[in-house]
Amino acid sequence: MKRTVIPEIKKELIHKLATEDTREDGRSLLQFRELKFETGIIGTANGSSRLSLGGTEIIVGVKVQVGTPYPDKPDQGVLMTGCELKPMAHPSFQGGAPSEEAIEIARVVDRGIRESGMIDMHKLCIEPEKKVWMIYLDIQVLNYDGNLFDAATMAGVLALHNARILDINNPEGEKVPLPITSWPLTVTFVKIKDSIMVDPTFTEERIANARLTISMDDNGDIRAMQKGLNGALIYDDAIRAMDTARELTFDLRARLQNNP
């Protein structure tokens, strides 16, 4: 990923457009790309989703299996989030063990979901200290064109809502949804020169100085944050980002919920 070179002339164009509140693809700085999704696409998974955000395309599969709880949380279920950036998704991605980028994405997505309290971990306990439900959320990137954080979080949340598991009290009956309620979402910003924009494309991510991902719960409260890249943000950037994220997540959430 680091080897990809963006031509100077393109950087200048992006800088210039940003001062006019627009971008290469015609969006305004605080506008997301086209969002498309479907759920329940993988028969072998308990829950699944396929989501595209502009040119970024992701499949998330949720597998729920019985396992043993962690000793320090004997009466709680387990959530494990994994992400792999496979060569399929972009020529710069390498095979083998998950890269730093992949691990960061998995952890940021995981944190947003976990910290929001979306999943009632206590209700995933089957028998304290012995048996709990383990939720494996695996993020598979098919095509990479920037902003994997937001795309993976949305796809993950959709797949969790789509998931069905065995009813412990009535194993013969219909499968039941996971004990989840809310729709935590993230908004990712990048700073390019002095401009702040959301939902960066691959090119925008490459030339950005700093990145900020904000996870928000249903009420618009902050549940997690992650700054990335080696540049800096100023105080005003963070505050403005907060307000923007709040507005945008309300809008995104409504779109995800209205299309079950």
Partner: protein
């Protein structure tokens, strides 16, 4: 032991209602990914497979490069959520073997001598597995190679035959694979008549083997037509009537 579950009923139909020589429904789409040089998506029964191709490009790692021809590297991988139990990400012995035989099958048809010192990298992701993933993977991979514009002698269709309830059957399904008597994956190049992938496990007599092999080869020809169709509909400017006379 398996007497309780019958794989073929009195009408000669299999557990999923197919006749012994009937394929599951197959859907092939070429050019489904933007970043890859070539790609293809295959739905085969409940199998869902996506294949991506890069190349010819620089060889990684370098010492693998061949001064006379391109090398073909395949990575077959089952997604964590593709099976009954969650599959731990990363390579395992099964995936390594399938990657190897798939690469060898593709090398037979790709004109590798035109691209010395380069690598053609094929990535096969099994998104949902329903028996016969290596055949679906190779079928998808060869369409993806063609979609990448890499010169090749022919596409490589692949299909398995097998044996269930003492009968030779085509395109072994999941239950048949688990409790059936044999599985015989085949890949066949229609243009040259060559078999470029052949594996088998289970138990077949000589006659059964011949019957199964013929069945698989005939099916490969049908799949070959579907592969061609997928490429045509990707590259023809307007929708044509196809081969429907």
């Amino acid at each position: 032991m398996n007497e309780k579950i019958r794989l073929i009923n009195d009408d000669g139909l299999r557990v999923d209602g197919r006749k012994p020589d009937e394929l599951r429904p197959i859907k092939i789409e070429a050019g489904v990914l933007d970043n890859a040089d070539g790609s293809a998506y295959v739905e085969w029964g409940n199998n869902k497979v996506i294949a991506a191709v890069y190349g010819p490009r620089e060889v990684q790692p370098k010492y693998l490069q061949n001064s006379a021809k391109a090398i073909v590297q395949v990575n077959y991988n089952m997604a964590a959520f593709s099976g009954d139990d969650r599959i731990r990400p990363g390579p395992n012995r099964r995936a390594t073997e399938i990657s190897k035989i798939t690469a060898e099958a593709l090398e037979n048809v790709i004109l590798t001598n035109q691209f010395p010192r380069t690598s053609i990298d094929v990535f096969i992701e099994i998104l949902e597995a329903d028996a016969g993933t290596r055949c679906a993977g190779l079928t998808a991979a060869s369409v993806a190679v063609a979609d990448a514009g890499i010169p090749m002698i022919d596409l490589v269709p692949s299909c398995a035959a097998g044996k269930a309830d003492d009968q030779v059957v085509l395109d072994v399904g999941k239950l048949e694979d688990n409790i059936g008597q044999a599985d015989l994956p085949v890949a066949y190049v229609p243009r040259t008549g060559e078999i470029v992938l052949l594996q088998m496990d289970g138990h077949l007599t000589r006659d059964e083997f011949e019957k199964a092999l013929n069945m698989a080869i005939e099916a490969c020809k049908d799949i070959h037509a579907l592969q061609q169709e997928a490429l045509k509909s990707r590259y023809s400017p307007q929708k044509e009537g196809g081969d429907a006379e």
